[in-house]
């Protein structure tokens, strides 16, 4: 590294830039590590340089393929095709972009050419029992409020778990000798009061994956209401919409700004009412978010009818990865509300073996049943 050192460092910086441009988190500190590593290895040995850089740049396993490609491009002098080809999209339903609208009382999905409301009824006050059995197809402000109350209870159920971490408490708990001693010193070594510690309550974490494909059309209306309610009641929640691609909608929804949120949702989620590729989308979720968002106390809630246009093996693989990591997987299928329905779609059958609870989700009553399962 005497003459070529400068060129090598520049090359390293370009390489790091390329990694960054493709969302591999590489910082300046990692570049310095990489440079240091290069001074320690045999620069003429391609494989060794490759290994050393991968170790020093701390490249996670998921990014290895990408790393290998870029390594080839930048260090072997071969010019691989630049940029990634845009993600392959499945043929979609061309009915024009759908729009979410808020008519003051409820949100609805409107296709630009057909202005009429397919539900076509005027929502009014609904006495509770009726409301609870009513399908989510028609969601009013009252129902959203009821949904929120329900979710608050769901959160309380999910939060029943105590962590094993001990935090100071004024209530009952184990004696905290360390703090007790500190206190005792103030009173000449007499233990006037014992300090205590108890196990902290774990904040529940919830990941919601919502199918917004055409076959779920009637229920996607609910998604918006549901997303608002979730964001308002549960702090550690992440919401995703999927059909042919996966979109993280958590940040798009803010309960304080209904109109803005709807705008963002309309623009952000492509293919409302399009086809479904459940396996592919779950795999995308796993690749991008599984590590950061799902841990062994996370509850994953999937809303989908399981009508998958993709490969069932992909779905099985994705579900297995999810299964390995998540604390609990609940699959809610609105079609289950129909007594004639049997989960015979291949996607649904495959997914079922990895699921802790499989239940209906076509109205509030069915969601209440979920509460009992969670507890």
């Amino acid at each position: 590294m005497k003459d070529g050192a400068h060129g090598l460092i520049a090359q390293l910086a370009r390489f790091a830039g390329a990694l960054r441009a493709r969302d591999v988190r590489v910082g300046l500190g990692d570049e310095i590590d990489a440079a240091t590593a290069l001074t320690l290895v045999d620069l003429l040995d391609r494989d060794e340089v490759h290994r050393a850089l991968r170790i020093a740049f701390k490249v996670p396993r998921e990014a290895w393929d990408l790393f290998d490609r870029l390594f080839e491009e930048y260090w072997d002098g071969t010019t691989a095709p630049r940029g990634n080809s845009p993600r392959q999209a499945l043929p979609r339903d061309h009915r024009g972009p759908m729009q979410w609208q808020w008519d003051g009382e409820r949100v609805r999905l409107v296709a630009p050419d057909s202005g009429e409301d397919p539900a076509g009824d005027t929502p009014g006050y609904s006495p509770d029992p009726v409301l609870r059995r009513k399908s989510f197809e028609r969601c009013t402000a009252d129902e959203i409020a009821a949904l929120e109350r329900l979710l608050a209870r769901l959160e309380a159920r999910l939060a029943a778990r105590r962590t094993r971490r001990l935090v100071p408490t004024r209530a009952r708990g184990m004696v905290d000798l360390r703090r007790s001693f500190r206190h005792a010193l103030g009173s000449e070594g007499d233990f006037l009061k014992l300090a205590r510690r108890a196990r902290a309550i774990d904040e529940p974490s919830l990941v919601v994956l919502y199918d917004t494909s055409g076959s779920m059309d009637a229920y996607t209306r609910m998604l918006v209401a549901f997303a608002f309610a979730l964001r308002r009641t549960i702090r550690r929640v992440e919401i995703f919409a999927f059909n042919t691609s996966l979109v993280r909608v958590t940040r798009m929804v803010s309960p304080a700004q209904v109109a803005r949120s709807l705008e963002r949702l309309s623009a952000g989620v492509r293919d409302w009412s399009g086809g479904t590729r459940i396996g592919g989308c779950l795999e995308e979720f796993n690749a991008q978010y599984l590590g950061a968002l799902v841990h062994r106390h996370t509850t994953v809630l999937v809303f989908s009818d399981g009508l998958d246009h993709g490969d069932a093996r992909v779905l099985a693989r994705a579900m297995r990865a999810l299964r390995e990591r998540a604390g609990r997987i609940l699959w809610l299928n609105p079609l289950l509300g129909d007594p004639r329905y049997k989960p015979e779609a291949e996607g649904m059958r495959v997914a079922l073996q990895f699921v802790d609870h499989f239940g209906p989700a076509h109205n509030l009553e069915s969601l209440e049943r979920l509460l009992r399962v969670v507890a």
């Binding site: 910082g27 590593a37 094993r164 001990l166 000798l177 841990h295 062994r296």
Partner: protein, 295 residues
């Protein structure tokens, strides 16, 4: 390949660890750059073993901190010996000590219980190997605390003052990826991902770890397990399982694989009810055919 990396690899092999170049390179770089090494990979690929071999290689002590949920500084770092302190207070009372001096009396080094982290940095005889095992099991808050210890290798005890490392230990962290390790901690370390071994490596591991296994059985077992890993399973068997299984086969005086033996001992490899059910007659027959084809 760099001579020194080659020698690390040879040295590890001498101590009973078949290391592929990636592992040897990582160990070499971590040692030279004096950085902790974060090792990730599926369960049973031999992550913890790296630390053990390293301690053997360097002829030093292995200090192990097993992480778990709720792990706190009292168990990881130090704890005061309260019983002794209490006794001392009682005695002091009887002797009529000056109350102002009580604090000095009971917060001395001799009342301090060393836990692994403190032990690792105060070892006088030379740098220890510090293994922080399954760091993903500890709470996120604990990671932040680790960060502090791993960057300065010093520990501040309010009652005593700051304790500096006598020798900076060689630190190895392992994670099963049950949750993502924070970026800050990852950046502090060098990173190694260990995969399931290749067929050749697995055979060599078996031959070195299971004395008395013949080459043919080792090959058949390794081929069987490699094929099994390609199946859709919830929990893939690691090398540790392969070794267990081979040992079980030897105890049963089997020198070759047959369906009956495989079924009787499949529990050594598959530790999930669902996986066991999914591996029926047909699957085993196919796996056996594949295992035998290697001869």
């Amino acid at each position: 390949m760099n001579e020194e990396i080659r020698s690390v690899q040879a040295e590890m092999e001498r101590c009973g660890y078949i290391a592929e170049p990636a592992i040897a390179t990582a160990v070499f770089l971590a040692r030279e750059m004096r950085r902790p090494l974060l090792v990730e990979g599926a369960a049973g690929v031999g992550k913890t073993e790296i630390a053990k071999v390293l301690a053997r290689m360097l002829g030093t002590e292995l200090v192990r901190l097993q992480c778990y949920e709720g792990l706190d500084t009292h168990t990881a770092l130090y704890e005061w010996n309260y019983q002794r302190q209490l006794l001392r207070l009682k005695i002091a009372e009887r002797e009529g000590h000056d109350p102002g001096r009580l604090e000095e009396l009971i917060f001395g080094r001799e009342y301090l219980l060393e836990r692994p982290l403190l032990r690792a940095i105060t070892r006088r005889e030379g740098p220890a190997v510090l293994l922080i095992d399954e760091v993903d099991r500890a709470d996120e808050g604990f990671e932040a605390f680790l960060l502090e210890v791993l960057s300065d290798f010093q520990i501040t005890i309010p009652e005593l003052g700051t304790i500096r490392a006598e020798h900076v230990p060689f630190v190895l962290l392992t994670s099963n990826r049950s949750r993502e390790i924070s970026d800050a901690l990852r950046r502090r370390c060098l990173y190694l991902f260990v995969e399931h071994p290749t067929l050749e490596k697995e055979i060599r591991i078996l031959e070195s770890k299971v004395p008395g296994v013949n080459g043919q059985l080792a090959r058949a077992v390794a081929r069987f397990v490699q094929r099994l890993r390609a199946r859709e399973l919830r929990k893939l068997p690691g090398v540790a399982e392969t070794i267990d299984w081979t040992q079980a086969l030897l105890r049963l005086h089997r020198n070759a694989l047959d369906a009956e033996t495989v079924f009787a001992t499949l529990g050594c490899l598959l530790k999930d009810e669902h996986d066991l059910k999914a591996t029926g007659q047909e699957a085993v027959a196919e796996l056996l055919a594949y295992a035998a084809a290697g001869d």
